[in-house]
């Protein structure tokens, strides 16, 4: 297990360098100049422009810029935002909890609904239940997030007025962040109604973000279950006189979970990508919205730093998933 983890870690370094190059190149390939954007409508003099360029190191050859950047990275320095002048890492950690909160709720929703639905569809294979579940999953899977988000806002926030349109909590409430997670902080604040407000702000974004992973997980669970239900050991379990609930919920599901866990792990990447859109739709102050805003401002340091951090998170999550995989599948553990 330890060697396994080490070998995975060894893979992370080259991936890391690759991502750093891509992130560095990507934002520079976009047309537009961060300094000119900073100046806005007024424009600026040529001297001032050259001065700022030198200050930010943009006058140096591009390869030199990259190696400066890489050197900084190895010292743990991801650079400073051109716009806010704050260190990228610091901004990231202020905004990251909002994204984690959203992504976590979404993945919890997607698994707690997707797995039982997949199991149900597999057990009732071919029935109207199966067809309904799989049909809905197909729709969910191909749902354009942006459109879906707007649709829900129009219905639930507009027509029905049940949920707020944007943000993490009503402006009525204010308290200093303790954990950065609004659900927890609102409880800690002790202010009446704060938690409910935070929760109601969370519902729609969570649903929107969970839609695709939920569909994927339901489909994967169904096919894994179908395969497992035909296995000899399921017949053995039934021949022991165990109840159908135990046969399906324990003997079959435990085996079906092995591929499903991998799928759930892969969904974390999908979630972070989805978070970019979802946060933009709901003005959710997380790293997704931060990235989008920074791309528009051509905030080089933030975009490349942010992409790198997101890549690290995805690699890290995949590592955890691999470990979990070994934990649930004894054939790998030993």
């Amino acid at each position: 297990m330890f060697r396994f983890a080490l070998s995975r870690l060894a893979l992370i370094v080259p991936t890391f360098i690759g991502v750093s190059i891509v992130a560095f190149a990507f934002i520079r390939l976009l047309p537009g100049d961060p300094i000119m954007l900073l100046a806005g409508e007024r424009g600026m003099s040529a001297e001032r422009y050259a001065e700022l360029q030198a200050e930010m190191g943009f006058d140096r050859p591009i390869v030199a810029q990259y190696f400066d950047y890489l050197l900084g990275l190895f010292q743990g320095d991801l650079g400073t935002s051109i716009v806010t002048k704050r260190p990228v890492l610091e901004e990231f950690f202020t905004l990251f909890p909002a994204t984690i909160e959203l992504a976590f709720c979404a993945i919890v929703l997607a698994t707690t609904i997707g797995i039982p639905l997949g199991v149900l569809a597999a057990v009732k294979r071919g029935s109207w239940i199966d067809q309904t579940v799989m049909g809905t999953a197909l729709v969910g899977y191909s749902m354009p997030i942006f459109w879906w988000g707007l649709l829900l806002i129009i219905l639930f926030s507009g027509t029905l007025g049940w949920t707020p349109v944007s943000g993490r909590i009503s402006l009525m409430y204010f308290f200093p962040p303790v954990t950065g997670f609004m659900l927890i902080d609102s409880l800690l604040s002790g202010q009446e109604g704060a938690f409910t407000s935070a929760l109601s702000h969370l519902i729609l974004p969570t649903v929107v973000l969970a839609t695709i992973p939920l569909a994927v997980i339901a489909r994967q669970t169904r096919s894994a279950m179908l395969e497992v239900l035909g296995e000899d050991y399921v017949r053995t379990a039934r021949s022991k006189g165990l109840s159908p609930r135990r046969v399906i919920g324990l003997h079959a599901l435990r085996n079906a979970m092995i591929p499903v866990i991998t799928t759930v792990g892969l969904q974390v990447g999908v979630l972070l990508a989805g978070a970019i859109l979802t946060e933009t739709i709901f003005s959710w102050p997380g790293i997704g919205k931060w990235m989008v805003d920074s791309v528009f401002r051509r905030d080089y340091a933030v975009v490349q730093g942010g992409l790198l951090l997101i890549a690290i998170i995805i690699m890290f999550v995949n590592l955890i998933v691999d470990m979990l995989y070994g934990l649930i599948n004894p054939r790998i553990r030993h």
């Binding site: 053995t236 006189g241 165990l242 054939r331």
Partner: protein, 340 residues
Amino acid sequence: MPILDIQNLSVTFETSSGPFKAVDGITLSVDSGEILSIVGESGSGKSVSMLALMGLLPWTATITADRMQFAGQNLATMSARQRRKIIGKDISMIFQEPMSSLNPCFTVGFQIGETLRQHLGMDRKARRARTIELLDLVGIPAPEDRLSTFPHQLSGGMSQRVMIAMALACKPKLLIADEPTTALDVTIQAQILDLLVRLQKETDMGLILITHDMGVVAETAERVQVQYAGQKVEEQHVKALFRDPHHPYTAALLAALPERARGRDRLPSIPGVVPGPSDRPPACLFEPRCTFATDLCRQTVKRQDEALGQALCNYPLVAGRPQNHPSQSHATDETRKELT
């Protein structure tokens, strides 16, 4: 009074190409303390008939029977819940592929203990003690260390021993062994068969031993039932069956035994395969492969009486000769021709 008594059991599967009768009017009975062997080629419905009795067939199967009685209880009319109180406890079953029959995610100790908890409500300590006892009984060395073993760490033979331990956990009255040695090495096969027979003698349970290997039958069984394409074609005591098979199919199976085929280059085998749903012959199902087939065999087939092993054949063999067969005279004609 037999422990298991089945009359006229049929199983029909609903398939995409229409209904398929995999088991066609099987009758069988087993006494406690007796070994009944069911022999037949692949596809002759041996497994399906046993799974029907265990209630383990998928919903596409329709089961009918005149009687399905186990230890005085009617299996045919009982609810699934009632049946679950019996299977795994009083009737248990082991399968052809021991390696894939154990759940890879759970330890050996857990899988045996689960049966004990389900049917006997034993607590953890009692389960552990009984599991060790069972593993010891089936000849697994260092049973205590085996409790936390996962199936993939066991060989095929060891897995089958674990399956046997699990099947015996609640001291069943009837054990169904569905080709328990087919997937194992030859040397291991003998060990597992010896183990099964020894345990059957010790516990006085009934044992149904399914196989397609006449060699296995010769070594273990008392009574033999030969099955072909879902039908019982013959039933005799093992010695009598080997001495004087009455159905041409049985005779062909015996002729394929290596020791009987001595002196030839290749083992004789029966040409053709068991008929499937699409190529089912009208009367005798063995007719396309039978050397004695006549027009009569395409119109009707007759069940012989006990003295002829209940053979399902128009011309049952006696001492290797088909009775009342039209070729009898014809054959003598030919011999005469050859002589002249």
